[in-house]
């Protein structure tokens, strides 16, 4: 069995991280509502679970550490102590510490040891309030005192007839008593009516026990706690501690019990009158059941990501093959083949979705860390900040999400430190006293965009320019675009901060942020407006994705648009563009700018007689794409374009269709950005 414990250990670490996350959530809520009994209870329960699980799975430090906390919150729960923001801070510190303890089961370095002891001391300080109920401690002290000397008890255990019905087994109770010390046990069964009326479910026996032990009466009583109602129990401390429990005495005692109808009083009297001086011993074996370690089914299993990747690949292949079958069925198959294909298509789709979903987790799973970060930074800097999260149900590959935590943390740190101004500056600038940092996530084609938006002072392009010139990255008078200047902040060691603060400004970071995002095949962009704030946009592809796409043709070539961005399809009627400047298209309610993809991609082949127009929605903008013909919906297995073609501006990947032809997947995000630049902002006002 023990070799399987490790497996549960890992499970526990996972669970503990979840619990800690919930705990952080509860604490953040508690801060706003410190009297909430439900929240305090949930903190207490979380600590309790950590303590129990820690002890179960061998995390002794976690267990002993959380024990202190459980006590603290028990006091708060029972209203012996008021929850203050100091205690909440302390709890946050402790959560961090527990995270470390989960990783290192032993405290190896002195620094950690100091932290450990420091936190425990702080907890103890709070816990040391006068308690309403100090009985327990007194009891413990008394028990300590009693422990030293051995005493002898007589125990009369007279069960009711129906004691067996609720599963109690008197033998086990007696066995527990035997564990307390040296014992002598006599059982006496009386079947008054013989075996005729014998009911095997009832108990007809009583027991007399003599016990020599260091333990106290309460400890003996505790054994019988659960049968109290089903029995009469007498525990009598015998006057004569010199009584020697030997076989001669026991023999005498036994015959006395058998001959007489005994109650406690009578037996105690008998024992007290009997003094003997030999030693006797009785050891009762406790049966140890051998463990059976068959591996039975578990409700969850852990699978390595590599295996999942492999599975994804195989599923991609199946999707492609099914596509081939669909095409065959459509063109040459008979009805039966068509029906089989339909069934297969349905199942394949399910399979694809299931496998895909295994890897996806919502952004909300990491949100709590940002919440906490802002809370901490806010108290550190004295800036008041509201943190708003939008679209946190947006899902991303688990690996990507985890790799994104650090970059996002860094951007938030920057936003607090460089972006949000202090209270007075804000008030002077006519802004609300509270700064806002917004985390916004949304799908954009086959990408997920994550924006970190602050309403602070913005980034000064001039300042960066000066610094770049100072560092020799730029010549004075050189003509560069604003974007190029802003991109300097992604260079290693580049900082414009006058002072190096605790939070940021050491120039370490933005280059790392950039690297981490590019490692994920993603992109990072900056938008800033002096006095209004800064927006960082991380664009991360949903890796390994199979997406629902809209297939359309443009000349001989097939293209795919992610279905998520497609708004509506129209027949492109030149009439509707009449009377508008540039490329504007009237859809009956308003004008929408459009891109002629024949021109955009410089496709020379002939246009279709009747062209079609697909309206795509992107980040509150709507743009039409003029194409030749919409072919239809298609399950797209995204494949990278390969080494030489990877650096494409508007194509994010390709897909092989059922008939073997290749369709290119359009990166609508970049295309629209490029398009907006080319018509230089006029679009925004019209739409």
């Amino acid at each position: 069995m023990d070799q399987y414990i490790d497996q549960f250990k890992e499970k526990f670490i996972e669970e503990a991280s979840d619990i800690l996350q919930e705990l952080e959530k509860s604490l953040l809520l508690l801060e706003k509502n410190p009297k909430s009994k439900d929240l305090i209870d949930s903190v207490f329960r979380a600590m309790h679970t950590l303590k129990g699980g820690g002890a179960m799975f061998g995390f002794k430090l976690v267990s002993s550490f959380t024990h202190h906390f459980e006590n603290l919150f028990d006091l708060i729960r029972k209203e012996n102590l008021t929850l203050t923001s100091d205690i909440i801070n302390l709890t946050f510190d402790s959560i961090d510490h527990i995270k470390i303890l989960l990783k290192n089961n032993e405290i190896l370095d002195d620094k950690l040891k100091n932290i450990h002891e420091n936190i425990i001391n702080r907890i103890e300080e709070y816990s040391n309030v006068p308690k309403k109920d100090s009985n327990i401690e007194n009891k413990i002290i008394n028990e300590e005192l009693n422990r030293k000397k051995e005493t002898i008890f007589f125990i009369g255990f007279y069960p009711n007839e129906n004691i067996l019905l609720n599963g109690s087994n008197p033998f086990y109770l007696i066995e527990d008593v035997c564990k307390l010390g040296q014992t002598y046990v006599i059982g006496k069964t009386s079947l008054e009516n013989g075996y005729d009326n014998y009911n095997p479910e009832l108990c007809y026996t009583k027991w007399y026990i003599i016990l020599r032990t260091e333990k106290s009466v309460t400890e003996i009583q505790e054994i019988f706690l659960f049968v109290e109602d089903e029995c009469n129990l007498d525990i009598v401390l015998l006057d004569n501690a010199q009584l020697q429990l030997n076989n001669t005495f026991f023999d005498k005692f036994k015959s006395f019990v058998n001959k007489n109808d005994c109650n406690t009083e009578r037996l105690v009297e008998y024992i007290n009158n009997t003094i003997k001086d030999n030693n006797g011993n009785e050891i009762i074996d406790v049966k140890q059941k051998n463990e059976n370690s068959n591996l039975d089914s578990l409700s969850t299993i852990r699978v390595s990501s590599a295996k999942l990747d492999e599975l994804m690949n195989v599923v991609s292949e199946i999707v492609s093959i099914q596509g081939k079958l669909a095409l065959f069925a459509e063109k040459e198959g008979n009805e039966k083949v068509k029906i089989i294909n339909e069934e297969l298509e349905k199942t394949t789709k399910q399979l694809r979705d299931n496998v895909f979903n295994i890897r996806l987790v919502p952004l909300s799973t990491i949100l709590i860390r940002f919440n906490r970060l802002i809370r901490e930074l806010s108290s550190e800097t004295g800036k008041e900040i509201d943190f708003i999260a939008e679209g946190t149900d947006t899902e991303l590959d688990k690996n990507s999400i985890e790799l994104l935590v650090d970059p996002i943390m860094h951007l938030i740190r920057n936003a607090v430190d460089h972006g949000i101004e202090d209270k007075n500056t804000r008030l002077l600038a006519g802004k609300p006293q509270k700064g806002i940092i917004k985390l916004k996530a949304f799908y954009s084609g086959s990408n997920v965009c994550i924006q970190i938006i602050d309403d602070g002072k913005g980034i000064s392009v001039e300042l960066i320019k000066d610094k770049a010139i100072e560092l020799g990255l730029l010549k004075k008078g050189e003509k560069v675009s604003e974007k190029e200047i802003l991109d300097f902040i992604f260079l290693p060691g580049f900082t414009t901060a006058q002072k190096v603060s605790n939070i940021s400004g050491r120039g370490v970071g933005m280059d790392v942020v950039k690297k981490k995002v590019t490692d994920l095949r993603g992109d990072i962009g900056i938008l800033t407006q002096p006095g209004q704030g800064t927006t960082f946009t991380l664009t991360i592809p949903i890796t390994l994705s199979i997406i629902e796409g809209l297939l359309f043709s443009l000349g001989q070539q097939l293209f795919i648009l992610p279905m998520a961005v497609v708004d509506k399809c129209y027949i492109f009627d030149k009439e509707l563009t009449k009377g508008t400047l540039n490329n504007l298209f009237y859809n009956g309610t308003k004008y929408i700018p459009y891109i002629d993809l024949h021109d955009f991609f410089d496709i020379k082949s002939n246009r279709a007689e009747v062209q079609e127009l697909i309206v795509v929605g992107f980040d509150n903008q709507k743009v039409g794409l003029v194409i030749d013909k919409v072919v239809g919906g298609h399950q797209v297995v995204l494949k990278p374009l390969g080494k030489f073609l990877r650096e494409q501006d508007f194509i994010s990947g390709g897909s092989i269709l059922g008939d073997g032809s290749i369709a290119l997947v359009i990166d609508i995000n970049k295309m629209i950005r490029k398009f907006s630049e080319s018509i230089s902002g006029s679009m925004a006002q019209i739409v």
Binding site: F8, A55, M56, N166, S168, S293, D296, S297, L298, S299
Partner: protein
């Protein structure tokens, strides 16, 4: 037929450890994440033994024990609860609610089996 045991605990790792241990012993195991969740098992085929934690969200162990004992079919079914050493008041409360006994946390699988064999035959 295999004896049926219900484990109720909000901690997934504990639930799984107990489930695994008991299944290895040949028991059929049901598991609930809290009292409220576990109630649904009571009205199915009869459970031979119930093991429950005390501190759980939604419905704690004590209320769950009461809920179990309220049913005629479960008047005498053994109910064990999981408890740490320091919870003496809770033990009394659980007992009054109708528990049969307790298992001290932390326990090793062997200890669990041992406790189980005391109340189930």
């Amino acid at each position: 037929m295999a004896k049926k045991i219900l484990i109720v605990d909000d901690s997934e790792s504990i639930r799984e450890l107990v489930t695994f241990t008991l299944q290895s012993e040949g028991y059929e195991v049901l598991s609930g994440i809290n009292g409220k969740d576990a109630i649904r098992f009571l009205d199915g085929s009869k459970i031979d033994l119930i093991i429950t934690d005390l501190y759980m969200p939604e419905m704690d162990g004590i209320s769950f024990i009461r809920e179990v004992r309220n049913r005629d079919a479960y008047k005498y079914t053994p109910i064990l609860f999981l408890s740490t050493e320091s919870q003496n008041e809770k033990k009394v409360e659980a007992k009054q609610a109708g528990a049969t006994g307790w298992i001290v946390k932390p326990f090793v699988p062997a200890k669990l089996i041992e406790a189980l064999n005391k109340v189930i035959r």
